[in-house]
Symmetry: D3
Subunit: 320 residues, 6 copies
Amino acid sequence: MTSAFHQPVDAAEVPRFAGHSTFMRLPAVASPEGLDIALVGIPWDGGTTNRAGARHGPREVRNQSSLIRRVHHVSGVEPFSIANVADVGDVSVNPIDLMDGLKRIEEGIAAIVAAGALPLSVGGDHLTTLPVLRAVAKSRPVGMVHFDAHTDTNDSYFGGNKYTHGTPFRRAIEEGLLDPKRMVQIGIRGSIYDTTDHDWAKSQGIRIIYMEEFVARGVEDVMAEARAIVGDGATYVTFDIDSIDPSMAPGTGTPEIGGFTTREAQQLVRLLAGIDIVGADVVEVAPPFDVAGLTALAGANILFELLCVMAPCVARRRAG
Amino acid sequence: MTSAFHQPVDAAEVPRFAGHSTFMRLPAVASPEGLDIALVGIPWDGGTTNRAGARHGPREVRNQSSLIRRVHHVSGVEPFSIANVADVGDVSVNPIDLMDGLKRIEEGIAAIVAAGALPLSVGGDHLTTLPVLRAVAKSRPVGMVHFDAHTDTNDSYFGGNKYTHGTPFRRAIEEGLLDPKRMVQIGIRGSIYDTTDHDWAKSQGIRIIYMEEFVARGVEDVMAEARAIVGDGATYVTFDIDSIDPSMAPGTGTPEIGGFTTREAQQLVRLLAGIDIVGADVVEVAPPFDVAGLTALAGANILFELLCVMAPCVARRRAG
Amino acid sequence: MTSAFHQPVDAAEVPRFAGHSTFMRLPAVASPEGLDIALVGIPWDGGTTNRAGARHGPREVRNQSSLIRRVHHVSGVEPFSIANVADVGDVSVNPIDLMDGLKRIEEGIAAIVAAGALPLSVGGDHLTTLPVLRAVAKSRPVGMVHFDAHTDTNDSYFGGNKYTHGTPFRRAIEEGLLDPKRMVQIGIRGSIYDTTDHDWAKSQGIRIIYMEEFVARGVEDVMAEARAIVGDGATYVTFDIDSIDPSMAPGTGTPEIGGFTTREAQQLVRLLAGIDIVGADVVEVAPPFDVAGLTALAGANILFELLCVMAPCVARRRAG
Amino acid sequence: MTSAFHQPVDAAEVPRFAGHSTFMRLPAVASPEGLDIALVGIPWDGGTTNRAGARHGPREVRNQSSLIRRVHHVSGVEPFSIANVADVGDVSVNPIDLMDGLKRIEEGIAAIVAAGALPLSVGGDHLTTLPVLRAVAKSRPVGMVHFDAHTDTNDSYFGGNKYTHGTPFRRAIEEGLLDPKRMVQIGIRGSIYDTTDHDWAKSQGIRIIYMEEFVARGVEDVMAEARAIVGDGATYVTFDIDSIDPSMAPGTGTPEIGGFTTREAQQLVRLLAGIDIVGADVVEVAPPFDVAGLTALAGANILFELLCVMAPCVARRRAG
Amino acid sequence: MTSAFHQPVDAAEVPRFAGHSTFMRLPAVASPEGLDIALVGIPWDGGTTNRAGARHGPREVRNQSSLIRRVHHVSGVEPFSIANVADVGDVSVNPIDLMDGLKRIEEGIAAIVAAGALPLSVGGDHLTTLPVLRAVAKSRPVGMVHFDAHTDTNDSYFGGNKYTHGTPFRRAIEEGLLDPKRMVQIGIRGSIYDTTDHDWAKSQGIRIIYMEEFVARGVEDVMAEARAIVGDGATYVTFDIDSIDPSMAPGTGTPEIGGFTTREAQQLVRLLAGIDIVGADVVEVAPPFDVAGLTALAGANILFELLCVMAPCVARRRAG
Amino acid sequence: MTSAFHQPVDAAEVPRFAGHSTFMRLPAVASPEGLDIALVGIPWDGGTTNRAGARHGPREVRNQSSLIRRVHHVSGVEPFSIANVADVGDVSVNPIDLMDGLKRIEEGIAAIVAAGALPLSVGGDHLTTLPVLRAVAKSRPVGMVHFDAHTDTNDSYFGGNKYTHGTPFRRAIEEGLLDPKRMVQIGIRGSIYDTTDHDWAKSQGIRIIYMEEFVARGVEDVMAEARAIVGDGATYVTFDIDSIDPSMAPGTGTPEIGGFTTREAQQLVRLLAGIDIVGADVVEVAPPFDVAGLTALAGANILFELLCVMAPCVARRRAG
């Protein structure tokens, strides 16, 4: 069956700078039918309260992902051999109308879900995760492993706006898309507005692991707890690129110093192996603020790390 | 009376890099009361269909405007001696909610108008000119001199969105804010969607002077026609920075090659002298796409050129 | 028939930053069959003697070409309505082996020619034009309109290397691909190695129009002569982006100040209308040296200008 | 009492990119009267021996500090609730005359001290700390915690110049402003001119903790020693941004690889809690060499960390 | 004799990116003895009132000058065949001490003059021209052709500082180094402090040709007047890179929009042919503010243009 | 004898930005005769399969190396006192012809070896190490300590090309230049093409220490093993700058996240002390992709670290 799976272009045959730019040099396909995992762009930053630009994220992550090869050098996972993966393009968006934008994104992801594929998306700002969850968690709340500098559980902005990239997970919990008791947020840091900023999240049962706790405990210990929190149930993984340090991911809207190194970020994602991932994303890559493509490069690599823990899920399910 | 007018900080006393950054190193004032001309920022790009970033325009135009001095070296106009001018800060905006954003901008400008001051604003994307016109042209339609690469008279985007930075002047005409027979658009160029793209504008009576006609006729001839079109009536001047060539103003959302040189742009604005300007703006300066501050520098200089044709209007009215 | 032609994605439906990046947002097709004009990338800079980087040109020209629309605003030409145009991807290249690289490029273009389509390529360094000519001019020498800062008619480099981006047109003449008496080079400028540098070219009959002569005579007069030189015969058009001023096209290997403005460049290409173009290219866009995408943007626009003089050729031939 | 203290603008009401740029979005006040801590810029780099640019530091630190919020997420300190803090603008400087520059800076800081406020300044090159100390330590020598890649205790440059950014602390000790036995320098690293480079400093009693010792011992152990060295006495804290790694703070005049991570830098400053701080600064942020605002962002965050250890000092003193 | 002259490295033998970086790839020589023209760097910006960085100018102009070849393509002048030219390195400077800096520069240039060579220097800010003139015009006042956006004839800054890059030519006239009646300033533009700003210069007899007059009259007419003003006497030529438009020369301290194109600048310098040049310079190239090396590239080319009008002077003198 | 050794220019006398740019401000010498260690540039990237630019490496490493001083602050080594070191310029290269390029490089290095000096070179891409080894290991295979993200032991590219920057060490082993049993590769990481990618290397006896193993064991343990592997025999050290994290060394052709910090890199090289180094290099610094000079700065510092372990080798040999 493997032979029917899509394969990336080989850089020993076609140089990395040649050809149309797609995620990981995979074929661009018109439909998610037949895919196990659909790589999809969500070029939308309508929820951004400060520096916009994540709308350009998918294009640049595609560009930088031409550096990705076929096999994970640590786990040995060969995602394209055990799962059918392709680039399904970008979902439809509306940069002008926030509510229409959310609706279009939900529909785009719902089509992937309907085709039986898992969405692995590249944002877009973090509000894009809300309509993704509406599609992925339609039938039941899911757990979540959330890497971020910010909890994104605020209530409203600018005199009552409920939908911004600072509010998606409060909305998702209110809508019953997330089970807060199966949620863990890792890497939270930076000055806050009020000492009560995180009270709502904690009161819901969300486990917040601040950067300082992460540093003290180390990657393995933290991820053991994270895996225990989400357990065996369906889990969504969301990776905000601003969880990584601004020196390694400067191209983002709300940088906070003191972030993860990319080395830590790789380890964090690798230690998701074994959980039941029903979708994942990398968000907040904002190329207009990037330098040397560093942020998109980090995003592309995290995307590959996520793929290498998702593909075995697919293979396990297929194996039964 | 002059002695009571606000004056910029002198760069022979305080170096340009020192002190808080305000438009042209003028005092930041809390209220437009007592001003003849209010320099005001509109940090909002909610109408942008492609590359956002003009929300950051006011801050960078302020920074670059520290290079501006007190006297126009060609006309000899000393704007700060004949008009009371200050930096009133930024209007309130809402980056998340388009309709609320338009309302806040209108209110902010209306307060300036109510105080008897002329607004000279820095955008922001070109949709910001619509709420400005709602405040400035509340009592009667005004004429307009419009420098731009694009006519911005489209009807709708993305399946029906009426308010984008490609539609403000169709809306303004529909709302009775602009008298299309007293409108001239100069510098229009670049590929278009359809041969009928400009038909609506022309059918309304707008005079479109394409870049090619401008090149053939020269600045003086074109501006003589422009002045004739707007005549003696109240006129608004809007300067889209993308009318200038992308090499001189790269930091903008929709660059079109073959634009005005800054030298031409200066001459164009200088030849507005004598018309009755009731407000003006510089829009679409998008710093995230800028290099070396060139676009903000051009914007700051155009702002000064506009001020130097507006201040004499003020003085004439006072005298007259 | 028109309805069967490929059409670009409409930016009023899908924002410019969304979707896979192709030339002018046209469909990416696997084969040139059925096309009138094939937009093709040649990501290869193996002939570069100084600053490499043009290998990355096609990708970035594709990115910037998302700003192009469907209709030429001056000539009214609608290229996608009168010719079938698509993006056929990049030819196969070899960044390591110069002679193999030339062979692969020739084969890639030959396939386009064999399918009955005209190649409109984006380089790549100027040596790429040699294998293109081997494919296009296989049956007979062609004339050439050549926009450049340099004549590219040197003999050899580095102790005998015959194939560099400084030598393609000497080689092409020697190989009988070009009729030097039907060749004109426009925009030549900059310091030279020896007063005899251009003697060989002139002795072959090539007409060199230096930048200074161009400035003195103007675009129309120069292009009238150019059209007369190439006459009615089959003609290739090659546009080296370094013919444009470095401020407007900094991303190139051998910048020379005092170049064409983009406004002049647009006019130059527009005045090619009516000649019999059998292929064309834009070369030497080197993104690693670019700023703000200016060079790729200029390249994308020149590509559109070339398309708008090539498409009518196709239509005329079809009409008979 | 708290209600009378200055408060920053709330980013949930006014977006971060809006409004005049001040330190941490605090009010700009004309006088230090009534303040506990005065945030002040020292835009001067007259002592720079290599790459100038720190004169632009205050402006860009102000810009980036718009990302700072009100509460420290680890210590829970709310500096604006327990101390009255505002932005008093920049001290007067003279970019042309070194000795006059030093005099003006001293006078500017002396006015803050005279008003009973603690200066928390943003340079400027490291020579600016000398006139600050002249104002702060006028009545008695103070101790110092000094984070830096360099000891800045050289004697002279260029044939006898005693005042450069490589000499301030030798001068300050000679002038009796610093008690060298209560001085600790942390993070010192990089190649040196002579094995005796640091002998003078050590002979005075300064404790130099090289980067290698820091790495071996860790933040907590090092800071325990630092606190012991300065003891209970009045202490000045100076933070040279080049103590941070160049990848995280590239915009500085004398970068040395192998520096602190920002995560370490935050911890270092946090562990100053409890000492008696009489003033502090962040110096050597040189925006012309910065990328993506990283250095100014790091500077702004370190400024906030310093504020969060200074404000409790103020509160303790008030409490008596 | 020619065979003994220094020759640049040939780019057809050694690629431009190889080898140590010297002006125009000429030999670096330890002494000016035997030279006709000494290319010399003056890495000093101690007189800069706003954005420093011209201290880095010589290094980057050397880098970009690797693109220069041996023969002027318009005049046919071969400077290295008719004059002995080499790179004598940088004069000694002092970045910390303004008066010592001026003294060192004067001594460095005086050594060149004493050796019988003409100095062709690369600054450095415009104050560097003052000590150069002290060396070059020691025996008698010289005339001057001055290309600039600013007259640089102010009196003092910051409460009495007489020596800044805004004052060199007032000082030079006061010191009897310049004959103001044989001085012409071309390209002056931009807002001014006071309508009387230029009165002193005019009262001395300096001819100021504003940019607007230049545009109206054209290069040839203006330069005919300039040549008439300086006549047959010894003349110094100073070229401030900010005379060129900021889009073509962004890397400078005091950019003013509406400047010369590089094409105009080349023509301006070419039309100096025939006057008696005793020294020349290119100043105010500030690499920290440059993009893509554009400013240094423009500087290198202007340097070559100057050399191509100076070398024939040398040849004429030798010929007697 | 020491007094006869070349010494760098002192930055306390001549500022770092002044003077011709050479490695570590050492004299540029025409011949390696009399040197113990020859600093030499290899400006060639003919073997690069993706992003070229390392040809510009030597020039920028020279620029950034002006920040290096005379004494190693940890080991106390004074390389210029115990070994005669100078900058011998760049070897001859051919950017167009791969095989000729390899030959020229070998000849250039052979001349250094013949003069009795050790080559310490700056690339250039990693294929440059092959011709260096041909010169250095002519008489017997050498051991190698290899810092890199990639093993560079592939067999061929693009349908049979044997010489690329991905193949040098397979070629070197095949040619008998390297003893694979005395080879260790440290820092290897990133996705791979096939699980068998590293099998050949391992089958030859090369010890590959992946990044993950390095992180787990620490610098000291890893380097103890590395020293044991190479033992007392002649050893070459090659440092690919992409072994360092892309945030600290973005200017390289094949960035892989999760790399060494510069702090680790410094420690790694320092722990080479005591082995018998017969040559070393720093490769893959590609300035067109660099930001803020970070990569060249890292390269310059690693060069100094290498020098500080090589110079004592020289001294030991001399001592005997």
